[in-house]
């Protein structure tokens, strides 16, 4: 099986406990014991003020993480092809759509309808940054992180690309079938591997089922049930700058092996 060699040039995160990568890194390294006061929702400065106020949480958390990753990588967002991945899409707007359709379908809001597309975060991102590069929105259920990392890595072999993986908490009756209880977004700027790459990432697909991350310190309660949390072992290795070979599910009987080196 062929492997893909790329590098991690930038990292961004957002969850109620992790407003940015610095905080996340400190916690993942054990330098900070307790989580900060939960933040309500992020206000990514890249969005125009009006969008910052009214954009759905699903858009805000994805854009916030993406913006952080680009800043850390010192990359112009408009120059990066991007992959926005989410297992469930905007559960808040889906709840609104389904509830409105059941009650009074003629009252459906046109804005909330166009915000319901799975590529809404990618669309807002492209508009805010002026990015006209390839823009995609993908999903692979519980394997969304692994499958989307593979998709973005295939682009990043040739030139730098942005990967964002995020989900928001389920609301309303959707909570009966979707276990996601907290929003979490993670973003990486991935670049071709060069001799100067500080964080090399080698990806390889193999059969079998990836074990869920067992490291209790990683699986903090506020990330449980969010498919983007499959990135936590990789984030921990990046935070500690600790070479490691990690595994993430990429599908049924399919595992993405991630070899990180510094």
């Amino acid at each position: 099986m062929n492997s893909l060699a790329i590098s991690v040039a930038g990292i961004g995160v957002w969850s109620p406990q992790w407003p940015n990568w610095d905080v996340a890194q400190a916690m993942l390294c054990g330098k900070v014991e307790t989580a900060a006061e939960p933040a309500p929702r992020p206000a990514p400065t890249l969005l125009p003020p009006a969008e910052r106020r009214r954009a759905p949480e699903a858009v805000l958390i994805a854009v916030e993480a993406a913006q952080q990753a680009c800043a850390m990588a010192l990359r112009e967002p408009r120059e990066l092809a991007h992959v926005f991945a989410s297992a469930y899409g905007d559960l808040v707007v889906n709840d609104y759509l389904c509830a409105t359709l059941a009650r009074a379908p003629g009252e459906l809001s046109p804005t909330r309808f166009h915000n319901s597309v799975h590529n809404a975060p990618a669309g807002y991102w492209a508009i805010a940054t002026g990015c006209m590069r390839s823009s995609t929105a993908v999903s692979a259920g519980d394997s969304t992180f692994g499958a989307a990392l593979l998709e973005a890595a295939l682009m990043a072999r040739n030139e730098a690309a942005l990967l964002v993986v995020s989900d928001v908490a389920a609301v309303g009756p959707l909570q009966d079938v979707i276990a996601c209880r907290h929003g979490f977004a993670v973003a990486f700027v991935l670049a071709p591997e060069t001799a100067h790459s500080s964080s090399g990432l080698r990806l390889r697909l193999c059969g079998g089922t990836a074990p869920l991350a067992q490291d209790a310190s990683l699986l903090q309660a506020n990330h449980r049930g969010n498919p983007a949390a499959a990135s936590l072992p990789l984030l921990a290795a990046l935070a500690r700058r600790q070479a490691a070979t990690l595994r993430a599910s990429a599908g049924p009987e399919l595992t993405l092996e991630m070899e990180i080196s510094f």
Binding site: S86, Y88, L101, A137, L150, L154, R157, E253, L254
Partner: protein, 396 residues
């Protein structure tokens, strides 16, 4: 943008309001028999491209947990043109882990989630709906993956109406990198309350059958469809039609309106031609996005008029199928492939008088001729664009 090695398309199929399978679709195109009918799906006064018989075609018992209109249409679509058997043969040939599955959809099985909300039991999903496996975007990919027992990389792309065009681009990258030896690509979208009432709320739905590029067009007719294609190395079948290029871009302009000069679409088109190593004059036919919305058709007509010579023919086939949203890419890829295979260049159904923005490329009437190179345009909400380039296979 460097050229890509072509890929063989060794099987393809589409099921839509205009017919089940390639022959039915080709016959409908040739005889100019459209599949649109007055909306009998819900209360909205409009026309729809409904696939007949989905209600009477439950999934096989083994897949009962996956029941949804979208998965029924996916299953129905897989059974046409022997596609299911050809997909299984490829999985047998290469090994399940060496075959990728990339599908596109805009709303997946949200119709089933809508139903769950109509049937709430004291504010909660009822027992039956809690067992359903359809309440997320990837339901389509997961269902087809289970149904085919394919175990390579699997992804659902959901970029609204460009979804199942972009599946070809993702598959090409996987095959090119040697991560998979073959890829099953496809797209399925079905009529549901969300899209009918949603597009209606944006005042984009016509009360009459859609008339793409007509000066008096009044909006789109929504439809549903399923389609699939099998991509392999060119050596698998040199006579098979080929994927030779793709272009993907964003408008960076507006969530539900196209860039007024079509700059994003132009970028996707240019990238597709560059990857294919083509000049515009070499393109024989373009299947346009052509939704019959005021803005899309004007912008797309201007783009075609400035980018291509009069010898390139172009049309929108949505008058036959309706706008099948996340399935439009794969359905129209099928129509482009039929043009290459059979020399059938469809015109634009229901259209009487072309918008003055149209150049000589856009055709109302069908034509016949030798088609060697065909493109397909797909544009979606969020300003998401994809253009595909196909070529006829080597002469036997």
């Amino acid at each position: 943008m460097s050229r890509i090695p072509p890929l063989a398309i060794t099987a393809f199929t589409a099921t839509c309001a205009a017919g089940r399978g390639r022959d039915a679709l080709a016959a409908a195109l040739a005889s100019r028999t459209g599949g649109l009918r007055q909306n009998d799906f819900n209360e909205l006064p409009c026309w729809i491209g409904r696939v007949a018989g989905i209600g009477q075609a439950p999934l096989p018992a083994a897949w009962r947990a996956w029941e949804s209109r979208n998965h029924r249409l996916a299953w129905l679509g897989l059974q046409q043109d022997g596609f299911h058997e050809q997909a299984l043969a490829a999985i047998e040939r290469y090994g399940a882990s060496r075959v990728a599955l990339i599908v596109g959809t805009s709303t997946s099985s949200i119709g089933e989630t809508e139903r769950a909300y109509r049937e709430l039991d004291d504010g909660h999903f009822n027992a039956e709906q809690r067992q359903r496996r359809g309440h997320a975007a990837h339901a389509l990919g997961a269902f087809v993956q289970q149904a085919l027992a394919v175990r390579g990389p699997c992804l659902t792309i959901a970029t609204a109406c460009s979804s199942s065009a972009k599946v070809f681009a993702s598959a090409e990258r996987l095959l090119h990198a040697g991560i998979a030896d073959a890829a099953i690509v496809g797209g399925v979208d079905t009529l549901c309350g969300s899209v009918l009432y949603g597009f209606n709320s944006l005042e984009l739905v016509s009360s009459e059958p859609c008339r793409p590029f007509d000066v008096q067009r009044s909006g789109l007719s929504l439809g549903e469809a399923a389609g699939f294609a099998l991509l392999e190395n060119i050596h698998a079948d040199k006579s098979a039609p080929r994927l030779i290029g793709y272009g993907e871009s964003a408008d960076a302009h507006h969530m539900s309106a196209p860039h007024p000069q079509g700059l994003g679409a132009e970028r996707a088109l240019r990238d597709a031609l560059e990857r294919a190593g083509l000049e515009p004059h070499e393109v024989d036919y373009i299947n346009l996005h052509g939704t019959a919305s005021r803005q899309n058709d004007e912008v797309e007509a201007m783009l075609i008029a400035r980018a291509f010579p009069a010898t390139t023919l172009a049309s929108s086939t949505k008058g036959w199928t309706g706008h099948t949203l996340g399935a439009a890419g794969i359905v129209e890829a099928n129509i482009a492939l039929l043009a290459l295979e059979r020399g059938l260049v469809p015109g634009t159904l229901n259209t009487q008088t072309l918008d003055p923005a149209c150049g000589p490329q856009i055709q109302i009437d069908n034509r016949e001729g030798n088609v060697r190179i065909a493109l397909s345009n797909s544009f979606g909400f969020g300003g998401n664009n994809c253009c595909l380039a196909f070529a006829a296979g080597a002469a036997a």
